[in-house]
Amino acid sequence: MREMIKLFLVIVVFSALSGGVLAAIQNATQERIEYQQLKFVKGPAINKILAGATNNPITDRFKVTDSGEEITVFVGMFDNEPNVVAFESFGKGFGGDIGAIVAVDLNTDEIVGVGVTTHSETPGVGSRAKTDPSFAQQFEGIPIQEPVKVTTEGGQIDAVSGATITSKGVCGAVVQAGDRYARIKNDIMDKLKGFKK
């Protein structure tokens, strides 16, 4: 009996110490890890659409809640004013959800740029929605509230050839971003008040 208690105690103490050490390290690295994930997963898309911003949009970010979901909003400074915000939204693609960063001009409510972040589309076909800049460029300047569609559905976006479903997915992500933008714009404006330097 005493032997068993001893074995039990050794394991408990070991696991507790290990848990404590890991919690401390997790705490210490959490912020950096979050930044690294943003930088390498969403960063390339954000930097492309917010090219020319005078700040670093990945550092200048804040969170707002939309129907119980936390959304990270990235701020782009142009002409010394934080007048562009970018956030991620999702649409249904051919192989799963497509994530896209949508950047919106706060003054005109027009789309500044769209960049695909994560997808599981067919390499070389659907994946061109991410790599082909001429597809993403079509979204620029469209009012965010306008329901974007591909041309085969009577819309204004030429689909990537051979990848209509993927293109529809990106449109879906942009439409979702529009709905979301309408709901969170006031929160964004509130947060940005403390932002102007």
Binding site: L7, V10, F14, S18, L22, I25, T29, I33, Q36
Partner: protein, 197 residues
């Protein structure tokens, strides 16, 4: 103790070099040696875990009861692997993305548990440190050698820098799984021929 600390270190570099002499830890060896960067990264991560777990297990070898030793070793090893995982995410995120699942899988790398059980549980702290470092450096060298062969032949690059110029047609078989087996087999063969003398 008959062997000196230096001998404990150097045996890992040739006489017991993993994975060629102790044919252990083949899973990461085969899977991550697609590129030199991956091979070195994996080697360094494993070395860190080996050294730290060897030191700690050697220090605690008189406290850990025999009957629960494996469980205790696994707790120690898993703790250090998680530390590596968090630190790599925080400071080398692109490498973390490339190595992916193989970082957490260091926990079940037979080399690490093998050294704990076969060496650190029976020897002093300094000797265990030397043993862990030697085996770790040996493992890193093996992974690097294997990945140099595979990356240069299979991709025509060394550390992502092209070596043959544009006219080279990569021997892409080498970068795929069968190439890993063939390459490892040939290297084992050479090592055995050299060792027989």
């Amino acid at each position: 103790m008959a062997k000196t600390v230096v001998q404990e270190f150097t045996k890992g570099l040739w006489a017991e070099i993993p994975p060629f002499r102790l044919v252990l830890g083949l899973c990461p060896t085969l899977a991550v040696t697609k590129g030199v960067e991956n091979g070195i990264g994996m080697g360094i991560a494993t070395t860190f875990v080996l050294v730290c777990s060897n030191i700690l297990i050697s220090m605690l070898r008189n406290i850990i009861p025999k009957r629960v030793r494996i469980a205790c070793y696994i707790v120690v090893i898993a703790t250090f692997v998680t530390v590596v995982e968090l630190v790599m995410q925080a400071f080398a995120y692109p490498l973390f993305l490339k190595l992916g699942i193989f970082i957490p899988l260091i926990v079940v790398n037979c080399i690490v548990l093998g050294r704990a059980e076969a060496f650190a549980a029976k020897n002093g702290v300094l000797a265990s440190f030397a043993d862990g470092l030697g085996i770790g450096v040996g493992f890193t060298l093996s992974l690097t050698a294997l990945s140099i062969v595979r990356e240069v032949l299979g991709n025509g690059t060394f550390y992502d820098i092209p070596v043959f110029g544009p006219s080279f047609e990569p021997f892409s078989f080498m970068i795929q799984a069968p190439g890993a087996f063939v390459c490892l087999g040939l290297m084992l063969c050479v090592m055995n021929m050299l060792g027989k003398k």
